[in-house]
């Protein structure tokens, strides 16, 4: 039986692991390879490096990080953040990464996803969706140039109706007039192989995943969904995988600050009847 996956996420800046609270106020938390080995030993199912390096000149450092990690860690490795071109993807895959996660570039140019999927295969193209409930003020949200593209009309956010989610880019700093659920459907059509779905309302709260968001997207698409944002207890992981219908759960702080090991998380999930690899 296919096991539900537990995926620790390491935020990497200038080649060092840092931990974020709602994407701001970062503090240093160590060396990427050592962190990766730590999770490898605990039986993590995959690893995600989220590269939040701001300066363009330092962006190549992540390739070193991937290459060093791939020397010793033999499990699937995803890198997200700052991917702008097909060459960026090629360089990462060559360095030893298996999947790349793309958000901002897909929003700027949705067909980037189809070009990437065609060139490298859907299985390595993860689309990161940072979703936020529209109950919040949407006054600053912006549209995109491609909004005039008729084939894209169905993703434009209509906030007059029922509760919905809009997407954000640039690590949550910019809101877009794009309906997250319709966007997910569109990204799947264009060749995305998996979603990394982060609730911007829940991220950093340790309050649990946005279950309604996760379930809605997971039921809308037929590619795997990784739930992210808000995990604070083991029960939250359980909720994400059962009520939220996610195929995998991503967590940073609960593992990163050693509140629980991945193994403990899996033992808990197994005791609740969730299929996991132990």
């Amino acid at each position: 039986m296919l096991a539900k996956r537990i995926i620790p996420c390491l935020d990497v800046k200038d080649g060092r692991v840092v931990k974020g609270v709602s994407f701001v106020n970062l503090r240093d938390a160590g060396d990427p390879v050592e962190n990766a080995l730590y999770y490898d030993k605990q039986g993590a199912d995959e690893l995600i490096f989220l590269d939040i390096t701001a300066s363009h000149e330092k962006r190549k450092i992540i390739l070193d990080v991937v290459e060093k990690t791939a020397e010793d860690v033999f499990m699937p490795l995803t890198v997200g953040g700052g991917i702008k071109t097909l060459d960026d993807i090629r360089d990462l895959l060559r360095a030893g990464c298996d999947k790349v996660s793309i958000n901002t570039t897909a929003v700027k140019d949705p067909y980037f996803i189809s070009r990437a999927a065609e060139k490298f295969g859907s299985q390595c193209i993860v689309v990161a969706i940072d979703a936020k409930r529209t109950a919040d003020n949407m006054a600053d949200a912006t549209g995109e140039k491609w909004f005039s593209d008729l084939s894209m009309q169905d993703v434009i956010l209509d906030i007059s109706g029922r509760l919905t989610w809009a997407i954000s880019t640039h690590g949550g700093r910019k809101m877009k007039m794009i309906n997250a659920v319709a966007w997910a459907k569109k990204m799947e059509e264009l060749g995305a192989g998996e979603f990394m779905l982060t609730s911007m309302d829940k991220d950093g709260t340790k309050d649990g995943y946005d279950i309604e968001l996760t379930r809605t997207i997971s039921e809308t698409v037929s590619i795997p969904v990784i739930a992210s944002g808000g995990a604070g207890t083991l029960e939250h992981l359980y909720e994400g995988l059962t009520a939220g219908k996610a195929d995998a759960v991503l967590a940073a702080s609960i593992f990163h600050f050693r509140e629980f090991t991945v193994k403990e998380a899996k033992e808990y999930l197994r005791s609740k009847g969730v299929p996991v690899r132990l």
Binding site: M1, L2, A3, K4, R5, D40, G43, D45, E67, A70, E71, D72, F74, M75, P76, L93, R94, A95, G96, C97, D98, F120, G121, S122, Q123, C124, G193, E194, S222, I223, P224, D247, A248, R277
Partner: protein
């Protein structure tokens, strides 16, 4: 020396580093002469079936690979490197494969999350020598949207369940091919690579 065939697709570095980790000499190459002279061949890869077939042909590697297999040289196919051994694939219309094994490459049924991505158990039906250190029903890492349906059932070494029961590894004499990724399956995966290295040395 084992030749890891580079035809421009997939994460070859992990396969190379996996062999290195278990002390087996392997080099990544797209040179047909190196493939011809290698003791054994590994054909890894993820991506589209037709691109794989086309790239192998464009790089003049098809003949080297097929001849090596037919001469009895140890061969390990991984993921797409398993699928291309079959007669044809229904991915994007019909595309001819290397036809080492009779059978088709078919897509997972509707209603399932595809790709089949993550860790799933492998049931050993007919234990190949390279799995000698692997317990039945161990977890390996998969990522694929298509699976192989061999016509000759006796080539099925292991099966895995995902909506249906499919062949997750085939084996015939010198030919081993896995749908799962040993190079991404942590300790157990490395044991499979080591097992292949051992088979090559004995051969």
């Amino acid at each position: 020396m084992i030749a890891i065939v580079d035809y421009g697709m997939g994460n070859l570095k992990s396969v190379e580093k996996g062999f290195k980790k278990v002390g087996v000499d392997a080099i990544v190459t797209s040179n047909p002469v190196v493939v011809d002279n290698a003791e054994a061949i590994v054909l890894p890869g993820v991506g589209a079936f037709k691109d794989c077939i086309r790239n192998l042909s464009d790089l003049s590697l098809t003949e080297s690979v097929v001849t090596s297999i037919n001469k009895g040289k140890p061969f390990l196919g991984i993921c797409l490197g398993l699928q291309v051994l079959f007669s044809e694939s229904e991915e994007f219309g019909t595309c001819k494969g290397l036809d080492i094994f009779r059978g088709k490459v078919v897509r997972f049924q509707k209603g399932l999350k595809v790709p089949h991505m993550g860790w799933n158990t492998v049931r050993i039906i007919n234990r190949p020598p390279i799995l000698s250190d692997i317990e039945d029903n161990s977890f390996f890492y998969f990522v694929h949207s298509f699976y192989v349906a061999p016509e000759e059932k006796d080539v099925i070494a292991t099966t895995t369940d995902y909506g249906t029961t499919f062949a997750s590894m085939v084996w015939k004499d010198n030919i081993f091919a896995t749908q799962f990724h040993p190079e991404k399956s942590q300790e157990l995966g490395l044991k499979v690579l080591a097992g292949f290295g051992k088979f090559v040395r004995k051969n």
